[in-house]
Amino acid sequence: MSIVQKAAKILFVSVHLILLSGCWDRTEVNDLALIVGLGIDQKKDGKIMLTAELIVPQAVGGGGQMMGGGGGSGVSGQTVVRSGTGTTVADAISNLQEKLSRRVFWGHTKVVVFGEKAAKAGIRQHLDFLSRNPQIRLRSNVLVSKGTAKSVLELLPPIEQSSAEVLRELSESQLLLRVTIKEAMQMLSSDADVAALPMVKILPPEKGKKDLQTIAFIQRTAIFKKDKMIGDIDDKLTRGVLWLRNEIKRANVTVTLKGEKGNITATLIRAHTEFIPKYEKGKWKMIVKVTAEDDIILNGTKLDLLNPKYTKMIEKELENETNKRIRAALKTVQKEMKADIFDFADIFHRKYPREWNQVKNRWEQIFPTVEVIVETKAYVRRPGVNTAPQGLPEQEVKQ
């Protein structure tokens, strides 16, 4: 072993030690401000106000006394809402950062809420920021709030840890629309160039509770053209839209049978919508085939549902009801708002690329004229676990 080799070894080790001491990207968890919800509002002067809901992890027991609680049996996260303003979202973030002792961390952002004003002013640049940042999940849910985004994030929900978590859970339940950042971007860059985002509204607090102790819930759907919000539709219409987007997951449909008193409610088990585009003689036509499978969950009539005759009748009524919902949605969205949130444009494009390309630029005018034929087929699979209606004397049951 020569001196040269020894020197090499010593130098090697020391260089490594120097390299090891460099900790360019290392951040302790406790130096991070975990942002779970992000709200983007536009102020009157055109500036962007960014509201972040962050979770501050706190040791149980607090302070230096950790007797017995060392195992960390319970964890409480306190949420804090802070805002920052700036000309762009990025500006607003640096403004926000000034007010935080910990570094903002986007990796756990679950929802992005646009205030109504910001939505109306255009969301493209915000989406660009959100997708350009490698930390932010493309899967974060995007919502629009009826008032400001800040007012939504500020709420202190009684059940979940943070209002961001509430909004995420509500989105993921897919009762109404659910849109992620990726999907929003896809919608805006698709042929139709329109988007639909779920819209939230603050639930009035219960009596005796403070104003903030409530949640916001998804109740409407905001419709965007280009990247600007042009209007919104209520939950009923939204369900119609969901049928037309083949996104319906859960729905209860209540019908009455002709000549019978009382209601029958069916719950959706499985649904599928098929689109058959037609182009004939310069006419655009879309046949929408809806198939739904239901279970009966409530029988308010005197009918014994084990009779297949009644099942047929119920199916018929269910079809009518579904049809009605879809029609209503079409009326508002297609004829009045003229926004192709069903993505008919892409469907036509796929089937008739050449013809479609000719009308590509005029699609906004053509869309309202598309003739939509809705064909619904409903199947009642099971009557629940009851046979005859409960709580009814035998003789009154109609066979």
Binding site: L19, G22, W24, D25, G107, S131, P134, R137, L138, R139, K182, M185, Q186, S189, S190, D346, I347, H349, R350, K351, P353
Partner: protein
């Protein structure tokens, strides 16, 4: 011979797989999507044709000069001076190409994960690890590939399976909306990657079951083609029309994976395993470069020049582009022609000359005889 190790033809095929795919799944899907749109899954099929051609050329040259590598037989074919010149072109090409590969790797890691870590540290640490593998010779690189490649393949498949819930098949239609041209245009860039199969010209002399070399080369090209196509399909199904808007579409798709609210954000793990694939890629290029240089200079051992060349590689990686935008611009414009002309064009010319020489030699012999 400088290299005493032996690899099997299968090892060679396995080594070549990450050598092509590792970086091809980064930037290429976006560039392909820009031209081919929803036909992007077709492009790898067209692109692979040049891969098959390159393997064929390399194997044919290998049959004419079984014991020699590209650098050595270019001298035999073109004569001392021209041969050295062509050898220098190859060496410069591999230095430059490997520099770009290392840069791509570094940019990817820094851009997505370690944004504050100096690029040089990220690239340098990789070169250091690679140089130990290169010093150990072709046998060790082959063995490493055998351990790493199954993991990489499982990783790719697992990710695609995890993405299935988010896939929309409709994104694929209309197929060939504007005819075959868009997909062909989209194939130009991946072609550049497929020409890298010329590297087998450096490995073939050390394959012990040499008659299987061609078979495994072809298998490797097919596997790469299928992988790229599969990845393109998966990306297309997940991202649809916005594929070309992402810098690393395959990676953005991975970021979208979410299973049961728990398996989210697995991209760091994916990156770590992908790094293993890039490791093989850089090591193979690096090995070819070091071996070629040693042969070009008629050295008796290639190991002493491993580290100096690694240092040069680091410099070339830094030097090859001032920023990522320039790099992508180069990769998306001139680079395919650059790669094809050097990795397929020159060997093709070499093959023609060699065949022609053989013929004239034989004729002379018969005339004399």
């Amino acid at each position: 011979m400088i290299e005493k190790g032996k690899i099997s033809a299968m090892q060679m095929g396995i080594m070549m797989y990450p050598t092509i795919t590792a970086t091809a799944i980064l930037l290429v899907p976006a560039i392909t999507a820009r031209y081919a749109k929803q036909d992007m899954w077709l492009s790898p099929f067209w692109a692979s044709l040049i891969g098959f051609l390159t393997v064929y050329i390399a194997v044919q040259l290998h049959h004419l000069y079984p014991q020699k590598t590209l650098i050595e037989y270019s001298e035999d074919i073109l004569g001392k001076f021209l041969g050295k010149a062509v050898g220098f072109i190859f060496l410069f090409f591999y230095l430059h190409a490997n520099g770009i590969i290392i840069r791509e790797y570094g940019e990817f890691v820094v851009g997505n994960f370690l944004s504050h870590t100096p690029l040089v540290v990220v690239m340098g640490s990789m070169i250091l690890v690679c140089s130990f593998a290169v010093r150990s010779g072709v046998e060790v690189i082959g063995r490493l590939a055998e351990v790493i490649v199954p993991v990489v393949i499982i990783l790719i498949l697992a990710n695609i399976i995890l993405l299935i819930p988010d896939m929309k098949v409709e994104n694929m239609f209309p197929i060939m909306e504007k005819g075959i041209m868009p997909s062909l245009m989209g194939a130009i860039i991946p072609q550049g990657w497929f020409t890298e199969f010329l590297l087998i010209a450096f490995l073939l002399p050390y394959v012990d079951d040499r008659n299987k070399g061609k078979k495994w080369g072809m298998i490797s090209v097919t596997a790469v083609m299928l992988t790229l196509s599969l990845i393109n399909i998966a990306v297309l199904f997940v991202l649809g029309g916005i594929t070309s808007r992402f810098l690393y579409p395959a990676f953005s798709a991975v970021r979208y994976v979410s299973i049961a609210d728990f398996l989210e954000h697995i991209e760091a793990i994916v990156m770590a395993l992908w790094v293993a694939g890039v490791f093989v890629k850089i090591a193979v290029f690096y090995y070819a470069l070091v071996l070629g240089t040693a042969q070009w200079l008629n050295l008796s051992d290639y190991r002493p020049i491993t580290f100096p060349i690694g240092f040069l590689l680091l410099l070339f990686a830094v030097w090859s582009a001032p920023n990522l935008i320039e790099l992508i611009h180069f990769l998306g414009s001139s680079s395919p022609f650059y790669r094809i002309s050097i990795q397929t064009g020159i060997p093709l010319i070499l093959l023609f000359i060699a065949k022609w020489r053989r013929k004239t030699n034989n004729q002379k012999l018969t005339q004399q005889g």
